[in-house]
Symmetry: D2
Subunit: 343 residues, 4 copies
């Protein structure tokens, strides 16, 4: 097992994800050398048992060769860090990028490191703040040698949160082993990128469904009776005041839509039935965009993921100019005035 | 020509559309008896040469048999008016519904009038406030007899704003005549409903395109550099400050997207380059919804029209609960905080 | 616990779902009287311990009052069965509709049974063929009295496949009890309908993602070089031959998209890596359509679910006429000829 | 007028678009030197009055300085031709790319030509095979000097197929002049790219609408009555056999959706009422894809254009793997078998 052969890792970047990875590794007996531009983050990890480094050079010096350095950094900081590390590391050392990098950058970066004989692994990491407890899902890219060497690290991070599929029992040993380590040899962050695209679509489906349920009382509300408002033809079909949180809770238990996202949604709604602490401005951090671009380049229909992405833009008001154009057209051809309030 | 046989029409409802229809008919020599619950609207039309009626009964009394009564009313008022007219009219009289009624109501209403031997015509009318000058597009449903009898009225309203298609030259005479009268025998308002669905889709396509052009300067703007914001990878590709109004103007002239909607958009942008007088809350008045429902009932894919409809809901903030659910999920699994401003 | 108070149930309809519900109930000590128009299905259940009925009347006669009769029937057969049962049952008996009925029919049916003082419960049931083993997710509608009386039945069917949410610990007792019984008091099948709509969206998101991964080798394939084919600008970014089944397997384990649907997909791909036994014609059985209609009636954006529905229509070739219109337009304005093969 | 100052132009590429541009220019008195790799295309133009060139060098030699060379070539051939011309041309000569190039390539190419002091103009050209007769819509990018010098050429090609907007009467002279020449100073092919994206959306909206009308007889057709087929609840609402061609024809005349695309569709349907000569495989040649990518990069919602693009992929069967995944899931959770025929 992984714990048979504890090993060591350098971690650069001690945000939510980086710090939790270090904690999980240390619990399993691995030795971690840590660095962050934020000195207090380093001290916090030092307090929990990590070896503190005060600079990139210090971190490199404190690791035995062949070294393994994991980057858990915002996308914009990865390249300069990599440039510095290239100068500091030795042949056969390995760099693992575990952040949300664009897979195209991985191609460039692996090529940049090759002449220095530094190995480059890209390691899509899913599991959020819960990974500390549940373990993470890893999507690993890189050469066989360093991937095998780092196996104890990977097994600690990704022990497999679910039992293997029933039908896997008859798969060859090597394949099963990899399934058990919960890692796919996904070349470059491609698979992680698409994972996040799927995440967008699943999230949107759940959110839309709960919204339809939340508005099942439409027939109980008063509507404006003007030419700009569609009458509700059958108000008797929309007379339901349904507790959305109860619905999410029951969907968790044995239904076809049962999923970790429904679990989380049920939790959130149990604490805050109408989620009033949120405004509904939904950010996107790149991977949904890249997934849609990949679908387009490949010529593969991905209407649901595309739509989920577009809806996030809408949630942030980015469609406003287009909407003004629509209002202008309606004013031009029909003399329609905009309604400033109501729905 | 239509003017060879001037005839008479009763018009109930003197809003933008009803009043302009009356004006267009009177210019062509037809006699109009008019009624509206708003007395001043009646007086205005009287001042332009119409015969004023002070009640539905008065209007009916002032028309010769067989009568033709055109309704240009908000959807909510059509049924009660129809109920009263049923008592007042005689066999062989005709009622024409020219408003945006749901075609399913036409089915019910024609059946309701049949035992009274009152003819029911449903007449989808497109052309907006410009119809007075350009003529309207009519989509007529009803029995052959009353449709033929009312032909002079229809020809005045819908003279054909475009020349017939090249390939129509060899169509049989009867067919060409109908083409010239710019009317299709569309059973019930079905065709008008779908027309408006198509309108939603075309409007959205134009608005989205102009919005993409309006934002072609994205590479010139400063972006936040945080984990919630996607970096723009190639800012050099988005350095264009393009005059959206000039684009609409040039698209009017010989391009594949040339259309009345682009004409109107160019006009609006010429007067107001950023359309600042609009907020972008886009109403929908029912026909887009009914079109999507028809597509679903028929099992026909209509993703573009559906999406255009959904975007109107988004423009009015109706997706807010779903968006809050998304923010809640992101907070749960990734600890992501909502960005309250910026984009 | 449920098993403390075994009770009895009449089951009409012994298809996959009905038969498994009976098996699950009998395992837990409940007594089942069963009927199906297919005599051999009745005999099979009799062989497993159920009391066989040879007619609806026979089934009613073999149940003690107050009776509970569960219908698990195709939508088209529900109404005639209900009509017959209305004659046979007594006041205070209960009918439970567990099939995929349209919730609007539930409203009508409850009203139809009310004068007979027969209780009507509608019970959306999710869990598919796996429910026998895992338990089902129930979404129950109906009056408090009969719902409470049938609680032992419901607890057996829906024991809760997942532990209650962390945050539920502090919810009031009554609420927790309902959570534990895995049932939401969803008026009418509304909640089940929306559940299936969410299912459409989640399924589509997963399928699209795996398709993008399956086509990640686009840069390795030869493309036609004609004016009708878009060149792939960066083939070097699409050089990956990824085992889709491995990806589904790894996503099962701790990732954000982890879900029962991903579990099932991983199973299917483990058995058949390219799913060649399927043609890709995806049926829809109504609830997706009704969900979209509800969203439209409520004015709630549900673009992802709508799109997932439309894509099913596309998969069955229902967009062909629209596509021919597109080809005709392209031929008209650009002289483009259709490519009959290739992609 | 343009004809006051006839001038000369070299045209490379004599396909449908190139040949018609030459014809239109010669009619207006301009002198054209023409070249194509296809010798017979050169001879045909020579027969119509053009000066034939047998090579790029020959073409360059036959033009007076400062030269203007227009490229109307497939995207894949533009770059090598440009490389050769760079060697052959002199400072102050101009190259105009009139084809469907990606605007990002224009940026690179203008930079490549700058050190040679050769001007680069990119000139998005819309109007299809009809442009010969109607004139084209031009979207011109480039420096002021060469754009002004080539004005007579541009005016012949793009005289303005529609009268200027009403509201343009009061625009400053310079602006009006540019409007009259039907050209927008769109930096690079960006505007043309988006134009084609809008075209996709408008085309799809029209095609969907006509498809809904074509299927308005759904209630007259027999449906399968099995668990995989949604019953049509209200067949009486879909009893219409509507002549789709008549609808397109009437929409041409004064309706809100009136447009050149509807004109062309009406023509096509007049000749072939069900368009049986088409299979419905709809190609896409790049600009729709690039438009969606631009929208994503800018963070602008463009759901309608994205959906129209995706639907083209669907029409060519590119969603098949995803659809097989859906069928596999349905088989897994519900035991649903695929229906191999019917709808």
């Amino acid at each position: 097992m992984a714990t048979d052969t504890p090993t060591q890792l350098g971690m650069i970047g001690l945000g939510r994800m980086g710090a939790n990875l270090v904690r999980r590794l240390m619990r399993d007996g691995h030795r971690c050398v840590v660095y962050d531009v934020n000195e207090s983050a380093v001290q916090e990890m030092e307090g929990e048992g990590a070896v503190a480094a005060r600079s990139l050079g210090d971190l490199v010096a404190k690791l035995e060769r062949p070294r393994a350095v994991w980057l858990m950094l915002p996308a914009a900081v990865v390249q300069p860090t990599l440039d510095q590390l290239t100068e500091l590391l030795d042949p056969d050392d390995a760099i693992i990028d575990g952040g949300n990098s664009y897979y195209r950058d991985d191609i460039t970066r692996a090529a940049q490191l090759a002449p220095h004989r530094i190995h480059y692994l890209d390691c899509g990491t899913s599991g959020g703040v819960w990974g500390l407890e549940r373990g993470y899902c890893l999507m690993i890219g890189g050469e066989d040698g360093p991937v095998a060497r780092l196996d104890p690290i990977f097994r600690t991070i990704a022990p497999g949160a679910a039992p293997p599929s029933r039908h896997r029992a008859d798969t060859p040993t090597e394949r099963r082993r990899r399934a058990i380590s919960t890692a796919v040899r996904a070349e470059r962050h491609f698979v992680k990128m698409v994972h996040n695209g799927v995440e967008y679509g699943m999230m949107a489906a759940i959110a839309e469904g709960l919204s339809i349920i939340d508005h099942a009382d439409a027939g109980l509300r008063k509507r404006a009776a003007d030419a700009e408002t569609t009458p509700l033809r059958e108000p008797e079909a929309y007379q339901y005041e349904i507790d959305v949180g109860e619905v999410a809770e029951v969907w968790r238990r044995g239904s076809v839509v049962g999923s970790w996202l429904v679990d989380l949604t049920a939790d959130a709604l149990a604490r805050s039935p109408q989620l009033d602490e949120f405004t509904g401005r939904v950010s996107d951090s790149g991977e949904g965009r890249w997934t849609v671009r990949a679908a387009i380049d490949e010529g593969v229909p991905a209407a649901v993921i595309s739509t989920a992405l577009t809806d996030r833009f809408q949630s942030r008001g980015l469609g406003e100019f287009a909407d003004r154009v629509l209002s202008a057209m309606r004013s031009e051809f029909g003399g329609h005035a905009e309604k400033r309030s109501g729905r």
